[in-house]
């Protein structure tokens, strides 16, 4: 049986890799990928804790909710990225600094 600490350490590593991607990448799609990695790390935590919660199954249920939320976030985020690309012809976040057309 794998102990809880193993899961927590793996998810900490994945979360920090996602944080690095969000901070360092200069491409909006890669920033979205970093956010996805962070959400995946949190889902791993949910699932790992859910093993001890047999009466409520709270962890697994809310892991499924988190997957749905991530899918919604990606759909809206990619729509915004496509609009931004159409407007500015770039998806580098540092080149997008004007609010008006």
């Amino acid at each position: 049986m794998i102990t809880l600490t193993h899961f927590l350490l793996v998810s900490a590593c994945i979360f920090c890799i996602g944080l690095y991607a969000v901070l360092a990448k200069r491409n909006a799609i890669m920033i979205l990928v970093g956010i996805e990695l962070m959400i995946n790390a949190s889902i791993l935590n949910f699932v790992a804790f859910s093993r001890y919660d047999k009466t409520n199954y709270g962890g697994q249920i809310f892991a499924l909710f988190a997957i749905v939320l991530a899918a919604a976030a990606v759909a809206v985020g990619l729509a915004i990225i496509l609009n931004v690309y159409r407007q500015f012809k770039t998806i580098n976040p540092q080149n997008i600094h004007e609010l008006k057309d």
């Binding site: 809880l4 793996v10 944080l19 901070l23 360092a24 047999k54 997957i67 899918a71 990619l78």
Partner: protein
């Protein structure tokens, strides 16, 4: 055997995630995300969450990754620009700063997890003492379905309406300007 498989999946997830953030080519990074998501689904299996693992494969690999590849292909000219634009950055941090920031955060997380497991909360200790933790022979999917329809019906409905709102919003946002 179980330990070995767990470490194999964890190493695959972490190593390909590291490669994902260090590679320059966005298309290759997206396909590495594929591997990371599969390895994470394998890790969910070790926590006895088979339905979550299958949903991860269906939703992420089948939906999210296809969307990401679509968006990448529709904004393809960035591929060359991303290779050279290392100068004049003021919003995103330089690489070494973000690396030290995330390493510091990793250190904090690891320290707090290790300190935390020494005194786990008492509901977990009670569940372990009762022997009422999930076992591999449990009927996970049936229990999940019952819980969704009885105990968690309100969050389920809220998330359904939220998903519909988000999809309508995405369809509205990605509409062409001239076609209104």
């Amino acid at each position: 055997m179980e330990q070995f498989l767990f470490y194999a999946f964890a190493a695959m997830a972490i190593l390909s995630a590291l490669l994902l953030v260090s590679i320059r080519n966005t298309a290759r990074a997206l396909f590495l995300l594929f591997i990371v998501l599969f390895a994470m689904a394998g890790l969910y299996l070790f926590a006895l969450a088979d339905f979550v693992a299958i949903t991860q494969i269906l939703v992420y690999v089948g939906g999210v990754l296809i969307l990401l590849i679509f968006a990448f292909m529709l904004s393809n000219k960035e591929l060359l620009a991303d290779l050279q634009s290392t100068s004049q950055r003021f919003m995103s941090l330089p690489n070494w700063q973000s690396m030290s920031l995330s390493l510091a955060f990793l250190a904090v997380l690891v320290y707090s997890f290790i300190a935390w497991t020494k005194e786990a909360p008492e509901w977990m200790a009670r569940a372990q003492a009762d022997g009422s933790i999930l076992s591999p022979t449990d009927d996970n999917i049936q229990t999940l379905g019952l819980k969704f329809m009885t105990q968690y019906i309100l969050p389920f409905e809220i998330i359904s309406v939220f998903l519909m709102m988000a999809l309508i919003g995405a369809a509205h946002l990605s509409r062409r300007e001239g076609s209104r």
